[in-house]
């Protein structure tokens, strides 16, 4: 009896893990599989078809949403990285690194609070809601993620390199562009990727701070969800999953070489 008990406890954990992963991926697998279903009725599998993907590329609503999402994401990435680098260098050189804590406050509040507060001031100052306000909101979150990553990498840059550069005759500006910036590259790349994916994943900020003309992919899926199941959404979701997987793959391969997380 004791032997059985031992085998049971030995198998318990792996089984539990397997079950959890099954739980995590059955919906996803079903989603992907049915994106290739010819019929539009979700419960019947008829035949394999990529019709829905074709519909995807011809749907102007989706293409618009895609364009907007990309615009916002790139805008957020560029602004976040630019401001983060300047901020980190400025704070560290001025020795007021304490100010960095004000950038971690973004993640303490529930996102909905930030969403409605941004909405409030936008309306109060008569700022038209749209791509710009979305970029503003997403950059706010982008900073919260890119600042710590770039900061930790900047601190890691041994000050000896900066000193050597100055010692050998380079001005501070030359040192920044020839030494500091290249050495920050991995952090910039990882932060950029992170902010990009966070922007694509966002829903709440878009929900509050966008307008009819600036639909993002998240908002599109949300509106489609309201009206029920549709295989086009399956196709879109599959593509988004693919993009996510690629990004995760890239991030984890970098992570193996230079530990960021």
């Amino acid at each position: 009896m004791g032997k059985i008990k031992r085998y049971a406890s030995f198998l318990f954990l792996p089984l539990f893990v397997v079950f959890t992963y099954v739980f995590m991926y059955v919906p996803i697998v079903v989603l992907v599989v049915y994106s290739f279903n010819k019929s539009s009725l979700p419960y019947m599998w008829t035949s394999f078809s990529v019709d829905w993907y074709r519909t995807l590329f011809y749907s102007s609503a989706i293409l618009d949403a895609f364009k907007n999402s990309m615009l916002v994401a790139f805008g957020a990435v560029v602004l976040s990285l630019l401001m983060s680098v300047l901020l980190v260098v400025g704070l560290v050189e001025l020795r007021i690194e304490r100010l960095l804590t004000m950038f971690y406050g973004t993640l303490i509040f529930p996102e909905i609070v930030l969403g409605v507060s941004l909405l409030s001031i936008f309306v109060f100052f008569s700022v038209p809601l749209g791509i710009v306000t979305l970029i503003v909101g997403h950059t706010l979150f982008g900073l919260a993620y890119s600042v710590p990553i770039i900061y930790s990498r900047y601190k890691e840059i041994n000050k000896y390199f900066i000193e050597a550069s100055m010692d050998l005759g380079a001005t501070p500006t030359q040192t920044f562009f020839r030494i500091t910036l290249p050495m920050l590259k991995p952090a910039l790349f990882v932060s950029g990727l992170l902010v990009f994916i966070i922007s694509l994943d966002d829903f709440l900020i878009a929900f509050f701070c966008s307008s009819v003309s600036s639909q993002t992919l998240s908002l599109y899926i949300f509106s489609m969800l309201r009206s029920g199941v549709s295989p086009v959404v399956n196709a879109l979701s599959t593509i988004m999953l693919l993009v996510t997987s690629v990004v995760v793959l890239v991030l984890s391969s970098i992570n193996n070489r230079i530990r960021i997380f």
Binding site: N158, Y160, F161, E163, A164, S165, M166, D167, L168, G169, A170, T171, P172, Q174, R178, I179, P182, M183, K185
Partner: protein, 361 residues
């Protein structure tokens, strides 16, 4: 003119005073060594000369020019760092070319100069390798090349050989000396290893733990005529004996008197003195010899064979003071074999005794 003069440099770190009114003059075009124990402030001095550290007060002169307020990137002073500080995202060529690139020198000249400099440091291969693939010695040469390519007036070296193993270290020391002679640049070499300093330097300064220079001069002069107990013990090993001056002798308590060669009228009779006697200046034998001014008798308590020489520790008969003696192993089959427990005579000449000045007993 490539001389360095520091005048009354004072520097504190976090409340701790490292240097106080420190002054030194380093002549132009020589290999100058700054020797001292860890933490004495020698690296700080180097960094102040380079402009990487700002002194609290005092001034720095390069030749006739006052460079006290000149920022580090405008000083014609380059540094070879202890950990080399080679830029990891560049290869060998780019690292060495860096000083010229920031001065906007044209590409062709850069290429030629890099190749020439590589030849000077004996590193003609591996030109385009990323620096991570180089060995310690190779990285050291790249650091050196990078520092000399822009032909600075002064080259500062901060314990550059510390990370290398012994054989490589000795080889690099000789190469450094040859390089300095060839370039004529003033080298300022910081180390805590006295044998390194003695090997390469034209002139050296010994610093103590309080950030002051104990003695400055040529290596031979410092080794043979140390002025203080600190210098005598830091540079090489020595025996230090204390006693009372009586006429032209020094009387060691319980042991007896031995004569000194006093060339100047120093302290009055009865005053306390300390002397330094290097172990290699003592002749150890069981026999009785003539022709030596001084002799002590003692028992051998330890014999250590060290290849080139043998080190004996002898306990003097009357006082129990222990004395170190080095004997060069000149013969394969020496006439006399001295073992532990033997009664021996220690002979030495009074001219080989150095009276230590500034002694506080």
């Amino acid at each position: 003119m490539r001389s360095i003069e520091l005048k009354n440099i004072t520097k504190s770190f976090g409340g701790e005073l490292i240097l106080h009114n420190f002054s030194v003059t380093i002549p132009s075009g020589i290999f100058f060594a700054l020797l001292g124990p860890s933490g004495c402030g020698k690296t700080t001095i180097l960094r102040i000369i380079a402009g990487l550290e700002k002194q609290d007060s005092g001034s720095i002169f390069l030749g006739k020019k006052n460079i006290t307020q000149v920022p580090s990137n405008e000083r014609t002073v380059n540094t070879v760092f202890q950990n080399y500080a080679l830029f990891p995202h560049m290869n060998v060529f780019d690292n060495i070319a860096y000083p010229l690139r920031v001065k906007k020198v044209d590409t062709n000249t850069i290429e030629q100069k890099v190749l020439d400099t590589l030849k000077m440091v004996h590193l003609e291969q591996h030109i385009y390798k990323p620096i991570q693939f180089l060995s310690g010695g190779q990285q050291q040469r790249v650091a050196l090349a990078r520092a000399i390519i822009s032909e600075p007036d002064v080259l500062l070296l901060d314990e550059p050989l510390a990370a290398l193993d012994l054989g490589l270290r000795e080889k690099m020391l000789i190469e450094l000396k040859e390089l300095q002679c060839k370039l004529g640049t003033t080298f300022v070499y910081v180390t805590h290893d006295q044998s390194e300093a003695l090997t390469v330097a034209h002139q050296m300064a010994i610093m103590n733990n309080n950030g002051q220079i104990e003695q400055i001069g040529e290596p031979k002069e410092i080794y043979e005529f140390p002025r203080s107990r600190f210098v005598a013990k830091f540079v090489g090993t020595t025996n230090i004996l204390s006693g009372k001056k009586i006429g032209s002798t020094i009387e060691i308590e319980k042991e007896g008197a031995f004569s000194l060669s006093i060339s100047e009228e120093r302290k009055e009779d009865g005053k306390e003195l300390s002397i330094s006697l290097r172990p290699e200046k003592i002749y150890i034998t069981k026999d009785k010899l003539e022709g030596f001014s001084n002799v002590f008798v003692g028992t051998v308590i330890s014999v250590v064979y060290q290849g080139r020489s043998t080190q004996y520790v002898v306990k003097l008969g009357k006082s129990g003071i222990t004395v170190n003696v080095f004997e060069q192993n000149e013969e394969h089959f020496p006439k006399e074999v001295i073992e532990v427990g033997n009664l021996v005579n220690l002979y030495w000449q009074k001219e080989n005794v150095v009276i230590l000045k500034n002694e506080k007993i």
